[in-house]
């Protein structure tokens, strides 16, 4: 980068842009057949905390014929410097322009990063629209959870990877090398669309009638009608980086991330991750201990985090934690569990792990009343919560965090009041157990429900923004005790998130307009500009309410219906109906297969260790 020192001395956190971290891979450009830039559309600190980046970086760089380098969204100050000095978006490893790569691969973790995706294409000097790009330009691909509704970004992305990228990406690179992809872009896209898990939006046509989607059809006979997600089998043996990149500057999750399991079977009805990462798959304790040993030696981190959607659900968690404690104690390496359930067992576990350091404990009852918790299938009772917090206070914690959502389907005033009552009860529990009033603290974090594709609540509207704002105010007023700290999430951001989460192809022009008006880092409260978003919708003639507030009928064709997760629509409908009558559906590990259809579809079943058996799989709902 020309004048690097000069620019870097003028921006915040210049370490974001220099690379050179421990364990990075630098390859000779001439020696590989395909060069991939992995793009994370948020800051370095957020992107480097994402385990998927480390996994894909490892998978691609393990190949002799390919290389992968990283690129993150430059912060506002850096973007300004880059634009003024005409510095194109560059990768960290070789500081080469993104446009020199063969493939630019985005990960889509959060809808509010979509304007950053567009901005990064622009900073790279690439035409924004897929149909304007030619053989001269890199192929632009995207994956991650938000690719499960790819439509809002379909103007900008050449192809989407649906599901777990470890395998698909390799097949895609093989095809690229075979076909000399850059020279045969159109043929490559057609061939790629036949790889399971690859969705090429330009090969599908959407027709509308009366504003509703009438069909989404492939334009060529040989293209699959629907794209089914990819799933890694034999998860215990899946490629896992034992030499992950260790940043030199502090990142959000600045520790070893050891993935112990993938998927969650709890079946919370609002949760997209719980649906799209099925089936649940665990790694064996032997694998985990051996990986932990290597990771500690190769990184120098003093903390290891056992990650999964629900760590205490891992079959052999106590066993693995004990073995790791024995193994790592001598090296003064601590263990943390970022995702714990609301139960006494989890607290026991947390207590065992955190013998020394007392990190905060977070519980997610999500809703204020039992009826609503049953509606969302949280599977947690007030008694569970109070038992868990008692155990936590008993074990020496004095500050706890509670997560709630407002605007959930069927919510009533008493559910809102329930949030206050429950939070107060938790605080009172602590005080009655002798936690000193000066130290006792319950942080109540309240966000707004956002309906997500492929969940039982995908048909539900988001609650009106005015209502959400009112409810946040009501809660703020009623949670007035000094020991109750209220945190709220801006409902205006959740509204845009809902619009994009259930958006269709027509939304692309609004995203582009929002970007051109200056929207960046919309997930960051200091950057979010609601006014610009409203203007973008106005100028493009898009009514955002029609996306966020739409209540779909089961018969309606949804914008993401041609993307399959393996979870059957019948199951989602049944779960939606059960939600409306506040009926809970137990976990498939509890001995009842709820018949989500995934195992039958993929001819697979959950991979569990420790001799736990799952119920017989039902293939009919």
């Amino acid at each position: 980068m020309p004048g690097a020192n000069y620019i870097l001395n003028r921006v915040q956190k210049p370490a974001r842009y220099v690379g050179g971290e421990w364990n990075i891979v630098r390859k000779n450009w001439e020696s590989v057949s395909v060069k991939v830039a992995f793009a994370f559309p948020d800051t370095y600190e957020v992107g480097m905390s994402y385990l998927g980046l480390q996994i894909l970086y490892y998978v691609v760089n393990s190949r002799r014929d390919a290389l992968m380098e990283r690129v993150f969204a430059p912060w506002i100050d850096m973007e300004k410097e880059m634009r003024e000095r005409r510095i194109p978006l560059f990768s960290l490893e070789s500081q080469k322009p993104v446009s020199d790569f063969d493939i630019l691969a985005f990960t889509l973790q959060y809808e509010m990063t979509f304007t950053n995706v567009i901005n990064m294409l622009d900073l790279a000097g690439l035409p924004l629209h897929a149909d304007q790009r030619t053989d001269k330009h890199p192929l632009v691909i995207a994956g991650g959870p938000c690719a499960f509704n790819p439509e809002p970004l379909s103007d900008f992305i050449d192809l989407f990877v649906i599901g777990e990228g470890e395998e698909v990406l390799s097949e895609l690179l093989d095809l690229w090398i075979d076909l000399e992809g850059k020279a045969n872009r159109e043929r490559f896209l057609v061939e790629a669309s036949r790889i399971p898990g690859i969705y090429v939006p330009s090969l599908y046509e959407v027709s509308y009638k009366d504003g509703k989607i009438q069909s989404t059809k492939p334009i060529l006979g040989e293209i699959p009608v629907a794209v089914t997600k990819r799933v890694v089998r034999n998860f215990d043996k899946v490629a896992f980086p034992d030499r992950p990149i260790v940043p030199t500057t502090e990142i959000i999750h600045d520790r070893i991330m050891l993935e112990i399991a993938r998927g969650c079977t709890r079946g919370c009805r609002f949760c997209q991750a719980g649906m799209i990462y099925r089936p649940v798959r665990e790694k064996s304790p032997v694998t985990l201990v051996s990986q932990a040993r290597k990771l500690v030696a190769n990184t120098g981190y003093g903390e290891i985090s056992l990650t999964s959607l629900s760590a205490s659900d891992y079959s052999c968690i106590t066993d693995v934690v004990r073995q790791l404690l024995d193994e790592l104690q001598g090296r003064k390496t601590s263990i943390s569990l970022p995702s714990l359930r609301v139960d006494a067992f989890s607290i026991e576990l947390a207590k065992e792990i955190q013998r020394t350091r007392r990190a905060g404990l977070t519980f997610a009852p999500e809703a204020g009343t039992q009826r609503l918790r049953d509606t969302i299938n949280k599977g947690v009772t007030e008694e569970d919560l109070l038992t868990a917090v008692s155990a936590a206070f008993d074990a020496g914690w004095s500050a706890l965090k509670l997560y709630f959502m407002i605007g959930l389907p069927t919510e009533k005033m008493e559910d809102i009041e329930g949030i206050t009552l429950l939070s107060r009860r938790v605080l009172e529990k602590g005080l009655s157990m002798g936690v000193s009033p000066g130290r006792a603290k319950v942080t109540v974090s309240v966000s707004s429900f956002v309906p997500k594709a492929h969940t039982p609540f995908q048909w539900e509207p988001q609650a009106a923004q005015d209502y959400l704002i009112d409810m946040q105010k009501t809660l703020k007023k009623s949670l007035k005790e000094k020991s109750l700290v209220f945190h709220w999430h801006d409902p205006r951001v959740s509204f845009i998130e809902a619009v994009v989460a259930r958006g269709d192809r027509r939304l692309g022009k609004a995203l582009e307009k929002a970007w051109s008006l200056g929207c960046r880092f919309d997930g960051w409260s200091e950057c979010f500009n609601n006014h610009l978003w409203q203007k973008a919708f106005e100028l493009t003639g898009i009514e955002p309410e029609s996306y966020a507030y739409k209540k779909y009928a089961y018969e309606d064709l949804l914008p993401w219906d041609h993307i399959h997760t393996g979870v059957s629509k019948k199951y989602l409908i049944r779960e939606h109906q059960r939600a409306m009558s506040a009926e809970v559906t137990p976990d498939c590990r509890a001995g009842n297969c709820p018949g989500c259809g995934l195992c039958a579809e993929f001819l697979t079943e959950p991979e569990l260790y420790g001799g736990r058996k799952i119920a017989e799989i039902q293939d009919v709902v």
Binding site: G20, W22, T248, G300, G302
Partner: protein, 226 residues
């Protein structure tokens, strides 16, 4: 176990390239990881949050290179310095280079408390031609000021005025290819420091010198102990 009895090792290292942009806090973290990777018998502090026992000579500002920086670390037992040099040298992050390591006397005072001054080399492109003679005059006139007041950001966005003149121990310079190279000896340590950037700005302002908006390159060439 008395911490003061543990063997103390002093490392001399340089910091440039990508490591130049690591903040001091991040540098501490980085060295912690380096030491853990090196798998040497490092001593840990007692208490709830065991950490390695380090002591740095003087924090370096983000963006400034360091040619001769010092760091002390306590080990649990004595290890031949050559062994330490090999173990640590092979696991350093890019831009950090170990130049030497030796055992320091157990009773030597903390590095931070004995640092007195530091030497910097500052390079900056000039807008107009400047002769060696003229530069000498500029330097003289700059140093002859009884006081040099600069503003420094304090807490809550307030700016505090301080006189840096007593902390400028020496200033010399020359011109090469229209680049001004200044050598500064500045007060550094736990009792306050003068920064090379503010000294440069004050110098340019005092002599109404215009600089080209290109690279300004600052390197700390040495840290000197009392």
């Amino acid at each position: 176990m008395g911490v003061e009895r543990l063997p103390r090792y002093r490392m001399l290292y340089s910091k440039d390239g990508p490591a130049r942009f690591i903040s001091h806090l991040d540098l501490v973290r980085t060295f912690e990881r380096v030491i853990r990777r090196a798998d040497i018998p490092a001593a840990f502090s007692m208490g709830f949050n065991p950490h390695l026992i380090f002591s740095f000579a003087a924090p370096l500002q983000v963006g400034i290179g360091g040619e001769s920086e010092y760091l002390d670390i306590l080990l649990k037992n004595e290890v031949p310095p050559e062994e330490l040099y090999a173990s640590i040298g092979s696991v350093l992050s890019e831009g950090i280079c170990l130049k030497g390591i030796w055992q320091a006397p157990d009773d030597s005072p903390a590095l931070m408390s004995v640092v007195e001054w530091a030497e910097y080399k500052v390079k900056v492109g000039l807008e107009e031609q400047l002769s060696a003679g003229a530069l000498e005059g500029y330097i003289d006139s700059f140093l002859k000021q009884p006081e040099i007041i600069v503003g420094r950001k304090a807490k809550k966005g307030r700016v505090k005025s301080i006189d840096i003149r007593p902390g400028i121990y020496d200033l010399g310079g020359f011109i090469k290819d229209n680049t001004l190279i200044l050598q500064m000896k500045l007060k550094t340590g736990s009792n306050g420091s003068v920064r090379p950037g503010e000294t440069l700005d004050a110098f340019l302002e005092h002599n109404s010198l215009a600089v080209r908006p290109v690279e300004i390159d600052i390197v700390r060439t040495g840290v000197f102990l009392r």
